[in-house]
Amino acid sequence: MSASQKAVRPLARYIRSTQSSCQSAGAFRTFSSSVRLNVEAVAEPTAEKPKYDPETVTSIKGEKALMRSGIVPIGSRRRRAAIKSSDNLPFEQLPYLCFQEALKVLREDREEELKLIATERLRISNVQSRDVSTFRGGQLEKETKLASMRRYLEWLKIQADINDPLIKKRFEDGEGDMSKPIYRYLADRKWREYQRKIIVQRIEQFGVVPDFLPHFEPTADVHLAFKSRTVQPGEYIDSRVSEVAPRLKVQVFDKGERLVTVVVMDGDVPDVEKDGFATRCHFLATDIPLSPTDTSVPLSKLTNEQVILPWMPPFAQKGSPYHRLAAFVIEQQPGVKIASNYQAKDVRRESFVLRAFIQKERAKAIGFNMFRAEWDEGTAGVMERAGIEGADIEFKRKRVVALKPKQKPRGWEARHSGGKYKSLQR
């Protein structure tokens, strides 16, 4: 701190403290703040116990007092000072002419959309109450018609809210209510802009589609985290980190509750006899309820009924190439619980076939995330603690001996192989 700042400090502190005290005394602010500010500062220069607002505190003293009481001041000091001096008008009442006109236009449009929604609801109920025999195509036509009308209704609901600036703001702040269609729509759009592209790229890069599943279109956002360590898709994870079961955050973007199965499997288990690779299931749990608002799936906190195969720490023996650990979220048939079909002793971890499981349960894979495992210095300990044998195995490539004997250089090469032609040789 320079000498000038040092000299200025007491005065600045004085200014700040008077400001804050009068601010705390008069919580309400009017347009002409300057006059009131002075009057109050004169009238009661020191309040007995100044109460500090974390939104508007600017004095160091006030900040410290707040911090001591366990409340962290919000935003920067500059921002707080700006908020303090503003009139705190709600966003939609800001006195800008064009903005107000724009809001008027948007409100009118919303009214129209709401009318359309009411009409569509009425139409849907009319179609529902109509007898099946009045449709030329019978039950099928009725259902198709209803489905398309409902789709249109959902679209209308989104259109009614998509122009609302406050909804946009709330979504950007992460305060969107996922039970509402508009926030789900916005979240889906945001996910598809970047995160989904990464997941799709990983699916292509790591050959997930031919190796694990025949075809796969992810529709749910899956985040993977070991304790506090979040996993980027396809990252190498230390074996000591992945020793405990991860947490999944699964965000689905369509409404309603559903049951899902979570499978974590290793796709690169070396198989020496076959001279190839096999799969191994590291985790299997079924009947996990999931909805757009209820997104957290901690794998270590699932109930015993749900978990069929508990977490087995991923490991890669020395010399084997990296192992792809893929976590799939699979949506089960609606309302069908399948945990009772599987007992831990029936399901083998080794050579677990995901496509067979999906085909048998007529389920659909909706979410995917993955990480990679390699041999590292902690793997042996992890295997020992988990009671897995084979930490001392090291895989080595078989040396392939060439069938043709090595040939001596002939012709031009033999003639020019002497020291005289060193400059010609590479």
Partner: protein, 198 residues
């Protein structure tokens, strides 16, 4: 709004400020150079002007003193030549400055933009609907004319035929587009039909 408070602070402390200013002025003018001037008097006024700014002032870079810029001759910090070059190549005085908004301002901008797009779309759609309606009503009127008289009567469909005429719609003495010859690379076999009458 922030400036209001700023102003209010300044009114509050203006006597103080004035005293400090006078002090600094008098010290500069009267006290001889040999006496060490307290350094805060120099930068005092500038610091007070920017009471909210927490960033260190640029003037402090060159040993706490604004150097004289050797090239332009104006006072101010010496700019990094790399920055100057980047500015020179990236920006042009004719290029409008980039639109940088605060969060709420951007949100207001977005609101206005959405409303404008919505209003424009609605206007376009209304225009199209109106045109379509007009065309439909003309069409139905012509249909009425066509079916006015029973077939076989004298002057059956006369009004319809008159309505279908295109006299004058391509300007006074103009020729309907249907009678125009297609543009070709070579002249026609008969260059001009002199015997043509309407």
């Amino acid at each position: 709004m922030a400036s209001q408070t700023h102003a209010s602070i300044r009114t509050m402390i203006s006597p103080l400020l004035a005293s400090f200013r006078s002090l600094s002025l008098t010290s500069n003018s009267t006290i001889p150079r040999a006496l060490p001037i307290p350094s805060f008097t120099r930068s005092w006024t500038t610091t007070m002007m920017r009471s909210f700014s927490t960033t260190p002032s640029l003037a402090l870079r060159g040993g706490g003193r604004a150097k004289k810029n050797p090239k332009s001759g104006r006072k101010g910090p010496v700019k990094d030549p790399r920055i100057t070059l980047i500015r020179y190549h990236m920006q042009h005085p004719l290029t409008p400055r980039p639109l940088r908004f605060s969060r709420m301002r951007a949100l207001r901008h977005w609101t206005i933009h959405r409303a404008w797009m919505l209003a424009r779309r609605k206007k376009l759609e209304a225009e199209e609907r109106e045109l379509y309606r007009m065309y439909q009503s003309m069409h139905s009127a012509c249909e009425e004319l066509r079916l006015l008289d029973a077939p076989g009567t004298k002057d059956a469909g006369r009004l319809y035929r008159i309505a279908m005429e295109k006299k004058g719609i391509f300007g006074h003495g103009g020729v309907p587009i249907e009678y125009a010859r297609m543009q070709t690379d070579t002249p026609g076999a008969e260059a001009w039909n002199h015997g043509w009458t309407r």
